[in-house]
Amino acid sequence: MANSLKLPPGPVGTVGQRSVTWVRKNLFNSWFNSLLTLLSIAFVLWIVPPIIEWAFVNSTLTPSIDACRAVTGACWGFINANLRLILFGVYPYDEQWRPLLAMIVLFGVIIASLAGVKYPRMQKLIIPMWVVGIPVIAILMWGGMLGLTYVQNSSWGGLPLTLILSTIGIVFAFPLGLLLALGRQSNMPAIKTLSVVYIEVIRGVPLITVLFMASVMFPLFLPDGVSIDKLLRAQIGIILFTAAYLAEVFRGGLQAVPRGQFEAGDSLGLSYWQSMRLIILPQALRLVIPPTVNSFISMLKDTTLVVIIGLFDLLGAVKLALRSDPAWTRYYVEGYVFAAAIFFLICYSMGRYSAYLEKELRKGERR
């Protein structure tokens, strides 16, 4: 057979010929596909040029109403004039480097934690990083020590608020969700029932009802004289909500660990917690990293709901900027597009990363 071995057919013909072949094969391989191609091209030509014209050609960046009135396209001047209000909300103007720094720290910790999946040497650092990172962020945001002036959390807002609500939501929901997932797998009927009821009730109701509950009912639950402010209540609501979803993610991971691993732990004489800690969880948690990132993405998108209970996250800050001056109010499209672009950038890149991680994790399995 050796002499009949042929090289795979390589690219034949000139670049021009090859691209013609490609176009034939991918765009015009049947009359139906040709029709679709033509329709799609017509659609693109119909929709893209006006958007480009609106967004780039006929737009202005000058932060003044007059400049905006003079152009027919987008008024990016609205964003330009209100950028810091949109990004940081009503956080004191001179102190806005603090939320900026906090955001950078937050991103750093998130990226480093995700990198831990690929570089096992980083894994031991993940928990210490969060243990240090969260207080650093808290000090930066609140201040009141190390020479930083105190900023109450009712004036937090913008992108840092969005990121903090969703990140702290996931980080604190993590252990709670893990316990709930273990509870759901437990042989003890009472613990199993409690976990199942909690998970299913929370997953059965919309986040907004949980937030309303947090903002309206929490104060009634507390004894006289004790009060927690709105942001913290929303944060607690988000944590309790996310925990139920993470519990289901973890359950998937736990179920993917073969039965024999549990039995191996038992036969080594390990206790339940020992075999969980040393055998089961290291395998299960590795598997759930991509879906956890996905939960984080949906959490990030869902934190916009805090607008409804009157907090100013990124979306809320855009609305605030629109209302700040009646002249700007008509430039809502620019405002929403800007916020949408930020959300898109974060969510899309994390989504791609989680897809990549999933592939990486599968690579190991395939061997």
Partner: protein, 398 residues
């Protein structure tokens, strides 16, 4: 499992430590502790709440449902006036939620399926366009999308005076879309009954057809027959009812449009926003459902000499449905739950009316408990139904 050991001197009596090390006894202790903690926490919260309510002079119980609501609701599917009671108002909200969720589920399934299939198209440009659609709209928060549509829709259309007419008798204004509707008549009630009868008849025809197929191998054009039965019966009922032709046509009277059926901008923005957002998820579900069916299945169908359309219907779809249905259910539930965001654009759904109720009566716990119970009920019913459906689908497997 007791852990007593036989010692030469006889049976050793159990010590306290033995009991504490017994797995079963430990489990019981853990559970008692867990339940105890939950009960204690619950008791603490309830007693605090009762004390707070008493101090703030807020009454408890669901008695307020019979009181007069005294607020207006912009759109309602049942008779409602501000003189109606709170229970009616909440019913209006519930029906509005169901309306937007029902239409949203149908639309997002259609759109999502189209884009899901388009993402697998052999046509490069179609595939890329579908990818751009899916990636863009699923990575932008749904609330932001709702705000966006709600800002765009009233602004994009003219005032009632110079309403835009895309089709004859269809008016687009900044107060929403007005479409002509038939004037209520007995004939339409007949048609409703005819539709129900048609479904029953179709059910039995289908049963008969599959029995015949099993017995004789003769296929029966069930799709066409069902359509014929359905429309035939409906037409018959329409003719029996006297074939009414009167239409309620929207027209400008004074500064406003009278007549016709008004689709409000609030409703439109909620529906469009939810449909687009959820359709991106449906597209992914459809795509993975199709990809989950191995290529060999297509080839097997081909080698049996089946036409591509029959292979799709009888071999590929049933298998990909089995993969797609659980995540699809999740998406339908998500859409229903996300419809609660209607509160942000002022569409009077259940949550929005409950909030008004809550503000007027001060009875937060009752109002929140009502809508939580409703959503929970919807979720449970859907998942029960889908579990049943799933089992039915899964039974096909050996």
């Amino acid at each position: 499992m007791s852990k007593t050991q036989n010692t030469p001197g006889g049976v050793r009596s159990k010590t306290v430590a033995d009991y504490l090390n017994d797995e079963n006894i430990r489990a019981i202790i853990y559970q008692i502790v867990a339940i105890g903690l939950v009960v204690l926490a619950g008791w603490y919260l309830v007693s605090n709440t009762l004390a707070n309510l008493e101090r703030q002079n807020i009454s408890t119980g669901y008695g307020f449902l019979n009181l007069e609501a005294s607020f207006g609701i912009s759109e309602s599917m049942i008779d409602y006036t501000p003189q109606s009671n709170y229970a009616t108002a909440l019913m209006v909200g519930f029906l509005n939620t169901v309306k937007v969720a029902f239409l949203g589920i149908i639309l997002c399934t259609i759109i999502g399926t189209i884009f899901g299939v388009a993402r697998l198209s052999s046509n490069w440009i179609v595939r890329k366009l579908a990818t751009v659609y899916v990636e863009t709209f699923r990575n932008i928060p749904v609330l932001l999308q709702l705000f966006f549509w709600y800002a765009i829709i009233p602004g994009a259309f003219p005032a009632a005076r110079n309403a835009f007419q895309p089709l004859p008798d269809v008016l687009l204004t900044n107060r929403g879309m007005y479409i002509p509707v038939p004037v209520a008549d007995n004939a339409y009630d007949f048609m409703g009954i005819a539709a129900i009868i048609a479904f029953i008849v179709i059910y039995f025809v289908k049963k008969w057809a599959s029995k015949r197929l099993d017995a004789t191998g003769q296929p029966f054009p069930i799709v066409w027959a069902s359509l014929g039965i359905f429309f035939g019966l409906a037409l018959l009922a329409y003719l029996v009812g006297g074939a009414p032709t009167a239409m309620d046509i929207p027209a400008l009277k004074g500064f406003n449009i009278q007549g016709g059926y008004n689709i409000s901008p609030e409703f439109m923005s909620v529906l469009i926003g939810l449909t687009i957002y959820t359709s991106t998820y449906v597209a992914e579900v459809v795509r993975s459902g199709i990809q989950a069916v191995p290529n060999g299945q297509w080839e097997a169908a081909e080698s049996l000499g089946l036409k591509r359309s029959i292979a799709l219907r009888k071999i590929i779809l049933p298998q990909s449905m089995r993969v797609a249905i659980p995540p699809l259910t999740n998406q339908y539930l998500n859409l229903t739950k996300n419809s609660s965001l209607a509160v942000a654009v002022g569409y009077p759904d259940l949550v929005s009316i409950s909030n008004t109720t809550m503000n007027q009566t001060g009875q937060a716990i009752e109002a929140i408990s009502i809508y939580m119970a409703v959503y929970l009920g919807l979720s449970l019913i859907t998942s029960l139904f889908m579990n049943w459906f799933n089992k039915k689908m899964a039974l096909v497997e050996r």
